[in-house]
Symmetry: C2
């Protein structure tokens, strides 16, 4: 979370905190089946209350409420818990963290933001050490326009939901559902399948899309937007191997209106998207008449780190000890130990005094179990000589140096230990 907060801040996003409890009226303003089933809803006194199930709806309410005090584009990040009462299962949690960034415009918002957002995710994942991931990009207008030019606009939601299952059920079953349940002609179904099976290099995909150009305004607009986003994605610093145009991405939520994103871990496609989002034209339509277009993306933090843990992808070398140094005072007078602890802390070294009545061996074992890398002994001799005895528990190396030199040694050791990333590759 520290890395996320830092990265998002470097891009000019302001941290926002909104309530976990909201009135049910606010959270359910939009309605919708799954949400309503999963929401934690209860009565307190006269109030009908619910726990937030995402960070977007509370953002919409916040922006509508504070419209006059905000300066647009409003860039905020929020890392917070959300609640969904689904059946608990491996890797699915009812209380979990999401990390969202959104840029909200007043009336309009430049499409460049749609290229910058994945660049921020790229930087964030890189800062965490994640390398083998792919940000997939599409544009809803291409999809909507495509179905419109096939005269299937009204059935496009159902068709896209079916098409979304391509990876799971295969093209034959998709075709069967399209022609069977959804009343699509065989010809149309073939065109849909040929459309969604377009793949290859980004430029190749964009070229292949051009064959439908000029038949529908929305399609043309979507293609132009996608071209712009792809053009600038590289400019914003996302390497070619970390993003791809993918026409199968639609995102279930029906408020996305333009660019949409999903992010896959290349070595674990079975996990699904770990970071998704997109462009919406009207964030807060249920709370204000103002037109507030925006673009946002959300990392399912709890799930992502659960999965990374399960896959053994969390770096075990990275220190997780609560302290860098355990100080063992060997005299009844603690002044010297406290003074040294203070000096360590002033140098940013996390230090704990161990003053419990325990045997020496037990205290060393305490540091060992917690993974505290250094133990400092301050006995009468050391105090008289103005030095600290400092032992590196990993190497066993022990030094007797003056405080400044001891601090220098510890800092150098910690720097080496902290050089790794949170995630392995």
């Amino acid at each position: 979370m520290e890395i996320l907060r830092e990265t998002y801040s470097l891009y000019g996003f302001t941290p926002l905190d909104t309530p976990v409890i909201e009135s049910s009226e606010v959270l359910l303003a939009k309605g919708g089946g799954e949400t309503e089933k999963q929401i934690y809803r209860f009565q307190k006194g006269d109030a009908d209350l619910s726990l937030r199930f995402d960070l977007t709806v509370p953002l919409a309410k916040y922006v509508a409420l504070h419209y006059n005090d905000l300066t647009f584009p409003f860039r905020r990040f929020q890392i917070g818990k959300v609640y969904r009462g689904e059946r608990a299962q491996r890797g699915r949690f009812r209380e979990f963290y999401q990390a969202d960034i959104d840029v909200i415009g007043d009336g309009k918002l430049s499409i460049l933001n749609e290229a910058e957002i994945p660049a921020i995710i790229y930087k964030t994942f890189s800062a965490l050490g994640l390398q083998r991931f792919l940000i997939r990009v599409n544009n809803r207008k291409i999809l909507n326009g495509f179905y419109a030019l096939l005269n299937l606009a009204e059935r496009s939601q159902d068709i896209m939901r079916t098409v979304d299952k391509l990876d799971k059920i295969g093209p034959e079953k998709v075709e069967a559902i399209l022609t069977g349940d959804l009343g699509v002609s065989r010809e149309q179904a073939m065109e849909i399948l040929s459309f969604i099976s377009i793949n290859g290099e980004n430029q190749a995909v964009l070229s292949q899309l051009e064959k439908w150009q000029g038949r529908n305004e929305t399609f043309d607009q979507g293609l132009a937007e996608l071209k712009t986003v792809v053009k600038y994605l590289g400019g914003f610093g996302v390497p070619a191997e970390n993003f791809a145009v993918d026409l199968t991405i639609a995102r279930g939520l029906d408020y996305y209106t333009g660019t949409v994103y999903e992010t896959a871990l290349l070595d674990h496609p079975e996990i699904g998207s770990v970071c998704s989002g997109g462009r919406y034209d009207n964030l807060a339509e249920y709370y204000t008449d103002k037109q507030l277009p925006g673009v946002g993306i959300s990392i399912g933090l709890t799930r992502l780190f659960y999965v990374l843990g399960e896959q053994g992808m969390l770096n075990p070398e990275l220190p997780t000890a609560p302290a860098d140094v355990l100080i063992l005072p060997m005299t009844e007078d603690l002044s010297a130990a406290i003074a040294f602890a203070t000096e360590l802390r002033e140098n940013g070294i996390r230090s704990q005094l161990h003053c419990e009545e325990k045997k020496f061996k037990q205290k060393i074992s305490y540091a060992d179990k917690l993974g505290i890398p250094y133990v400092v002994f301050l006995g009468e001799d050391e105090i008289r000589e103005g030095v600290a005895a400092c032992k590196d528990l990993a190497t066993g190396e022990q030094t007797k140096l003056d405080p400044k030199a001891t601090i220098y040694r510890i800092k150098a050791g910690l720097d080496a230990r902290n050089r790794g990333f949170v995630i392995k590759g």
Copy 2:
């Protein structure tokens, strides 16, 4: 929160996160009237669930559940939201942040922790810039022992609740309630009042307490503990003006068994305690048979900062802008602007590109409204010359320097701006 997280970490506390939702059985294991009335409780499927009302009960459950995996003393901090459905009123919130630190021992825990805890609070408040505060310290054993030696042990809870109101209702009313409602003799009431009106320098208070010494074992133990805590408080770095022995401090919660703390803002005593806690002998008695003594303290973060805001004690000079630099690209090709933004971010400078279609004046006004201190212009001339035009919006001073020099100038300016504290005095 960043300052709190940093300070607590420097003292070797590990961050802990526990669920907001727990089963009601866990949260209400102890029972108790106020808690049960205020709790947010609801049904989801077959589950009887509640929202946590403090961070101590979830800690107790956590420690009991993970007893075998933990290494004791276990030092954890937690900054999180808690929920109490009390009537909303100025400065009281139903959803608010608490920031807790606790040290939990297995079987026993050195009293030195009871002197270190207020030292950590002193450091935390100092790091925030707060100066005029007083950590009041007492020991429940002195109180319990004192009432025992007056043969009033059974009524001591009621007596202490009454005595707690001394500041609000005055000594006459306290005496009236003691002798009237609680059946205390006039003589006993006088002795109680003389006991709780002991004040003065810490050493003087401790000396005055000695006159009851030798009459009750608990009293004697409490006095010895208080002397130890006072002796080491200074040693742990708390200046004499920031702590005081105060015999009126009892803390309502009946699980405190030794040292207790309250913290007052000297210029705003009407606010009550902004940071309270104490020693308890058995953290998790409802969840495990293990004896887990501990000591902890909690800052009512939301309330504290609400009050500080109301009192005009938050430093308005400290930058709250979401970015340090707003970059205005003046060419269609954004490469130079993006490259410079990247360089700024690599130097820890929070930077935002402004690529919206707005007039130049509107972009400057955007930076102005958000309090972004620097605006960087990158036009064709600047790009050709390899410089950045950088304007300090506060002074109007504009420079045209190469990237390194520009970064140096911005960093120096930010350092000067960030030198202040969050809280004024």
